[in-house]
Amino acid sequence: MAEARRARISSPASADGADGARANGAEVVGSGDGRAKPGGHREATLYRALAGAGAGDGRSLAELRADALRAYRSLELPVWRRSGFWTTSLQKLQLDALRGPPAPSGTTPAVPEVVERTLPRRPRAGRIVQSANATVQLELDPDLRARGVILCSLEDAFREHPELTARWYSKRLTIDRHKLEAANAAFWSAGAFLYVPPEVVVREPFEIVYAIDAPGVAQYGRTLVLGGRASEFRLHEYDLGEDFEGQALHAGAVEVYLQDGARCRVAQVQDWGAGEVFDVSTRFVGVGRDAYCHWLPALLGGHLVRQHLELAVSEPGGEMAFRGLLFTEEQEHLDVFAVDLHETGPSEGDVHWRGAATGQSRASFEGLIQINPGAQRTHTYLQIHSMMLSPKARVDAVPSVLVSADDVSASHGGTVGELDEAAIFYMQSRGLDRPAAVRVIVEGFFEPLIAELEDEPLQELVRSKIEGKLAAAREDIEAYATSR
């Protein structure tokens, strides 16, 4: 199926029928004068892919930090709009009241309890844990270290492996699209760095953990992962918050570069707990020649979360599977902008997200397929399925397709559903009580994606988190069922 050049195909699917909205590639394209007024970020008609700010332009880390600091000082807290019916605003974040780096001295760094109780006990290749803005745990399988694998803080990587950081740091991530991105680039400390050398195959996962266990923290997480030629590995990122009262911020930036023939499975479990945690993060995964990435973020909680996720096939023969699941509850607000970017062809893309919402939570997912000029023989498909579990919950799904090549296929689809009463009755007639039947349906809804994690301990963790959310929203779900 050939698309017209610069064709835009958009069909917003909104649970409450908020139609008529134009599905734009909603992202802020650097404002001309570098000054953005609150609420002044109207959506750009055309999305411009993350172009990078560091590697290759010769700036040192200190120079990049200084440039980012200037941007930080000149920018207001960001607001994102999705035409007409969606706004993500950081106006309620009291940034000045939060404590960023450096980590307070004189305290003994400890692994937060939330990390101990959440992460599965299982074999692993290595683990790095950052609490607030300090590294609190670092482990690496000695055999892997002997084979050249590097796992350390990003700060240490700048000291000990400058040839790698100079080449890759911020190669695609930008530093000044909005204030919190600038804050991350200016202030990050500790961070995580993983390097898997060419042809090294690692079965067990590398775990990179960011945790916030107390209010009042501004955590600037920064991760750089390099998969060498024909390497194979798994990366599990955890973003975890303790249940506390008060505000905290995680402004994260993750970049993963897979070189020729590398194969990587990236999974992320994010659950910031019951605190008033703001999470504004950007993640970029670049897939090289004949490389493959399976990427599955599980976004399972946070007071206000804005995720910019970009998976780019940058060299011919690259292939990716972009999966994701999201589950919001209570008053949570989740904004996902996911880009399936094809910079060259032939390439294969497959995007499949599923979301559910309870309470008065709101989730908006915009999925953009972008096929650049010259990315011929690209084939990609985007599907988004959502399930409403409460009368006041809302999930918006906005697929967009932006095509600048004529020998490609790109399509999208999606569904919006509610609990199927016939299925509930069927299961009840087999002896399951109603809450159990609801749980089976919702878990079944997510199961196609959970199964793709292909990692039993992680699957169990995601299932149990979903189960916990359903149990917490039990009355709400019942009220919805009886009101229909």
């Binding site: 009755f425 009840q428 007639s429 002896g431 809804f445």
Partner: protein, 198 residues
């Protein structure tokens, strides 16, 4: 004279030993037949069933219904043919071992081989496990494979005739029309009952 379950919740009825085989079983995407069976079995147990015990039971039930082992790893009724759905119903019945099973037009939409398998499975559960069965049907053909102890004819929501197997033979000879003429117009169906032996 037993317990009145008319007002009970569906899962309470099920856990009291009643099983309803649906005419149109609902698909449960994302949940395998085996996992669903395990959950249903555990719903009425204090302790969850052991892995080995469950596997043994499942293997027996699968043999009874002449289905492939891979059947139990497929998502329940999701993309199943009509025959597979009915087999899945009987498989659940065999695993859950109710006291009384109501088969609501389980025979409709089945080809002759599927009908034979399903009916023979029902008969064996009756003979071997003492399962009480109430078969609701419009047709006689299922009665070629199961031997009812009692037959009742229902017309307009009312039982108008009671008997044994000979009533089926009469119906086969005369059709429902004669009964309609006798008792007034309406849609007629037969109810065949197998005594649970308990």
């Amino acid at each position: 004279m037993g317990e009145d379950i008319t007002e009970a919740e569906p899962h309470e009825r099920a856990n009291a030993g009643l099983f309803l085989a649906f005419q149109y079983p609902v698909a449960i995407p994302g949940v395998s037949v085996a996992n669903f069976l395990r959950m249903a079995i555990n719903a009425k147990r204090e302790e969850p069933i052991g892995v080995k015990e469950f596997r043994t039971q499942l293997a027996h039930a699968v043999d009874l219904l002449d289905v492939d082992r891979s059947f139990t790893s497929r998502h329940l009724n999701d993309g199943f043919s009509g025959g597979e759905k009915k087999r899945a119903e009987i498989l659940q019945m065999a695993m859950l071992l109710p006291e009384v099973a109501v088969l609501d037009e389980t025979d409709s939409g089945l080809d002759i081989d599927a009908l034979r398998t399903v009916a023979q499975g029902v008969q064996r559960l009756h003979d071997e496990q003492g399962l009480g069965v109430l078969i609701i049907t419009h047709y006689q053909r299922i009665l070629h494979y199961v031997k009812p102890d009692f037959v009742h004819v229902m017309l307009d929501g009312r039982i108008v005739l009671d008997g044994g197997v000979e009533l089926v033979e009469r119906l086969e000879r005369e059709g429902y029309d004669r009964i309609r003429q006798e008792f007034g117009a309406g849609e007629a169906g037969a109810v065949a009952a197998g005594d649970g032996g308990g």
